[in-house]
């Protein structure tokens, strides 16, 4: 029983009942404790029902009685089947209370246990860790900054902080594939890059200009790489796979597409510039140079030829400017030789400056004129070239016509003859055409057939490939899903492990389980014994039955035999009488033994009952009832007196 009591007390403590340390069995529970325990249990089981119940007994007797009644009612509402009333709480007896408490504890919801079982996610673990850290930091006593040891500095003291400042890092790449590709594409450049990476590139921790930004830079680099990889993955899964290209092809195609778009944008931005001011051509030419640079790997095409116009003008202006600059220099060099008054020098300089500016302006104008002229000339040139081409085409056409006519004139003198010849020729060629057509038909049919077949195969393959593509896609999805699941499960596992570690190490739990197992084994053993005893009893009963049967039969037979002889012989008659007496006496004896047995059993029952009654503290309870009764009467009389007074 004490084991049960321990479990009960443990459960009650968890519910919130304040069970004293010295109380270790239900026997020691007093009325207050019982009421509190029951109310707490009811509150947990059914908050609506329990909230109206007080956790402690009021001082007034009638109020106590009422509390007892309502408690009993609540217990019955919850579903307690046993006998219950106010007396259960006020005049407790151990077994009743135990059964009631056991019922209530069993009824306690297991929610709290389930709630902790539920996976609460990564964030909860993090929050818990944060909470633990805050707790640890709160538990550290505050020290004035002057008294702080370096040990505390991370939690309290102001350490010097640096803002998150990341710088791009250059990583050495030495994957074999990239290397060979580099070497294949531009052997010189590859070598140079390798040399640079081998000898000049600093290790990543030495690259940032400030050492404090090392960590930030490295983290930033890694995160950007990760996100780029993720983005590529996403894109590849959503679009790349459908395009049915290899990753490299997809890459290059996207690259060229982007190039084209940028180029278009830049070109559209560069268009209006030539008409604008003097600075126009130069900026557009810069842009066009940029465009050319963009083209980079791809061979030069029409855009370059289009750009030449500007580049030419640019070259032209540059040469002009440089020559004029040379002029300026040649003019300005003699200046310092003639050392005169400063004002003079300034004046002269100004004059010269203005003249030079004028010259410059003129040159600029000239350049503009010349560029316009060049434009004009190129346009006219193109026009002339076009015209020339057209003329040439017309010429050749006319020549052909002339030749045909010449032939016809040649044929005229022998018209009939030639006509026949021509007809024969026409017929022959018509025949040949028919012949050729039939041949063509012959060839065509199988070719068309083959074409159809190939087409079919092609469509089949298309279908297959699209099927495979969808399969691949679904596989990708599956892979992703399962990796996610695996990750989630791993996290959950980790979290559960941490939770398990953080859980209070309930020693009693394992003890209980062990105990329960022991009890179960004990019960098994007892059951076996009981069955053994039962079978023994059964056997005994059988034996007894058979023995009585045998006895009866033997007696009947003996009785008959002796009775037969008894008529003849006196002594036998006597013996018959004895026999009858013996039988009767024996029967009586058996009866008595049986009676004794039943009486013994009854005695045992009665003793048990007496013990139970003794356990119920009947006398004490009766006394208490009497006291309470007196108290109630007193209360009543007081109330009556008050009423009377009132």
């Amino acid at each position: 029983m004490e084991e049960v009591d321990k479990i009960l007390i443990h459960a009650l403590k968890q519910v919130g009942t304040e069970v004293g340390e010295e109380v270790d069995s239900v026997k020691q529970f007093n009325s207050e404790l019982i009421v509190e325990a029951v109310v707490r249990c009811i509150r947990v089981i059914d908050p609506g029902l329990g909230s109206t119940l007080p956790t402690s007994l009021p001082p007034g007797m009638s109020a106590r009685f009422r509390v007892g009644m309502s408690l009993a009612q609540a217990c019955q509402d919850i579903g307690y089947k046993g006998e219950i009333g106010y007396q259960t709480f006020l005049y407790s007896n151990e077994p009743e209370i135990r059964t009631l408490l056991m019922f209530l504890v069993e009824k306690l919801p297991r929610e709290s246990a389930e709630a902790s079982d539920q996976p609460s996610g990564k964030s909860v673990v993090l929050q818990r860790a944060i909470a633990a850290t805050i707790k640890a930091q709160l538990s550290v006593p505050w020290l004035p900054p002057n008294c702080q040891l370096p040990l505390h500095s991370e939690s309290q003291g102001p350490t010097t902080l640096h803002s998150f400042h990341a710088q791009p890092l250059h990583l050495a790449h030495c994957s074999k594939g990239a290397e060979t590709k580099l070497l294949k594409g531009r052997p010189r450049a590859g070598c140079v890059v390798m040399e640079y990476q081998r000898h000049i590139l600093r290790p990543v921790t030495a690259q940032p200009s400030h050492h404090v930004s090392v960590a930030a830079s490295i983290l930033e680099q890694h995160t950007s790489e990760l996100s780029a990889a993720q983005e590529w993955d996403m894109e590849w899964n959503s679009q790349g796979l459908l395009s049915r290209l290899t990753p490299q092809e997809y890459h290059s195609r996207k690259l060229s597409r982007l190039h084209k778009r940028i180029e278009e944008q830049l070109r559209s931005a560069a268009q209006p510039c030539p008409e604008s001011a003097f600075g126009g051509p130069r900026s557009t030419s810069d842009l066009l140079e940029l465009l050319q640079a963009f083209r980079g790997p791809t061979p030069a095409d029409h855009i370059l030829t289009k750009g030449t116009h500007f580049t030419h003008t640019q070259k032209f202006t540059f040469t002009q400017v440089s020559t004029s600059l040379q002029e300026v220099e040649t003019i300005s060099t003699p200046l310092p030789t003639g050392r005169q008054l400063e004002g003079d020098i300034q004046l002269r300089q100004q004059e010269e400056l203005s003249s030079l500016q004028k010259q410059f302006q003129q040159l600029c104008n000239d350049i503009n004129d010349i560029t316009a002229e060049i434009k004009h000339r190129t346009v006219t040139n193109a026009q002339v070239l076009d015209e020339l081409k057209q003329r040439q085409v017309g010429n050749s056409e006319k020549e052909e016509k002339v030749q045909v006519k010449k032939k016809a004139i040649d044929l005229l003198p022998e018209a009939d003859n030639n006509l026949e010849k021509l007809q024969a020729l026409v017929e022959a060629s018509a025949k040949r055409v028919v012949n050729l057509a039939s041949q063509w038909e012959k060839h065509r049919a199988p070719l068309i057939e083959e074409h159809r077949r190939l087409k079919e195969i092609c469509s089949n393959k298309d279908l297959e490939s699209s099927q495979k593509l969808s399969e691949i896609k679904s596989l990708h999805d599956k892979i992703r899903v399962s990796t996610e699941e695996a990750k989630r499960k791993e996290e959950m596992y980790k979290q559960l492990v941490t939770e398990l570690e953080s859980l209070p190490q309930d020693v009693s739990r394992s003890a209980y389980t062990q105990r329960i197992l022991e009890i179960v084994s004990n019960i098994k053993k007892q059951k076996e014994e009981i069955t053994k005893i039962l079978s023994d009893t059964k056997e005994l009963q059988k034996e007894i039955n058979s023995l009585t049967g045998k006895l009866d039969r033997t007696f009947a037979v003996t009785d008959e035999l002796v009775f037969k002889d008894a008529k003849k012989d006196e002594s036998v008659r006597k013996s018959y009488k004895y026999l009858a007496a013996l039988h009767e006496n024996c029967n009586q004896l058996i009866q008595t033994i049986e009676d004794t047995g039943t009486i013994l059993r009854e005695i045992r029952d009665l003793e048990e009952q007496i013990e139970a009654e003794n356990g119920n503290k009947t006398v004490a309870n009766l006394e208490r009832i009497l006291d309470d009764y007196k108290a109630i009467r007193q209360e009543n009389s007081v109330l009556a007196a008050k009423v009377r007074e009132g």
Partner: protein, 193 residues
């Protein structure tokens, strides 16, 4: 722990006994930790006699990978199981993982401090002084008769002292005290998750 491809490659080459022998590995791990924690950048950090025979590009790559891995691990507060499973996936031998983990444990606190030093922090209050003054009258009002507090918070930010001065009425001061108490209470609440 997610690692980018370059980091994975670098760590894999670090796992390869043909490119890094045992002493080379431990020296590189040591160097990686040291290069992160040293107060000044040292371009010659990889010039160790044990690392001389290794290809410099490979060495730089592995060094970058190792430093990245270390920082990521500290950032995520990785425990032993995470680190070892992560490194096992990259085919590092158990012995090398042990070498790495012991170095990691040795330097973890410092690295945490290093990462914690990135960021901003409001100034820290080191001392408070106050004065109760009485406002009697002003140019506009003849009778004001109101006490008010002159409060000076001595704060420190990045080691530089900085004072915050303000005046407040009794109610405002009570409000401030209430807010502070609230803050303390919510801290406590946050610690009891």
């Amino acid at each position: 722990m997610e690692l980018s491809e370059s980091v994975q490659r670098g760590l894999q080459s670090l796992a390869d006994p043909s490119s890094f022998d045992h002493s080379g590995f431990s020296v590189l791990v040591d160097v990686s930790f040291r290069s992160l924690l040293s107060s000044h950048s040292d371009p010659g950090v990889l010039d160790q006699p044990e690392l001389k025979q290794i290809d410099q590009i490979l060495l730089k790559q592995s060094h970058a990978a190792a430093t990245t891995f270390i920082l990521e691990a500290v950032k995520q507060n990785a425990d032993k199981s995470t680190i070892s499973s992560c490194l096992e996936e990259l085919t590092l031998s158990a012995e090398r993982i042990d070498v790495f983990y012991s170095a990691y444990q040795k330097h973890k606190k410092e690295l945490e401090r290093l990462l914690a030093s990135i960021g901003r922090r409001p100034p820290v209050i080191t001392d408070v002084s106050w004065r109760l003054q009485y406002h009697m009258k002003s140019a506009q009002v003849d009778k004001v008769n109101e006490p008010f507090y002159l409060i000076s918070l001595n704060t420190e930010k990045d080691g530089a002292p900085e004072d915050i001065n303000f005046t407040c009425t009794v109610e405002q001061l009570q409000d401030l005290v209430g807010k502070l108490k609230d803050a303390a209470k919510s801290m406590e609440k946050a610690s009891q998750m």
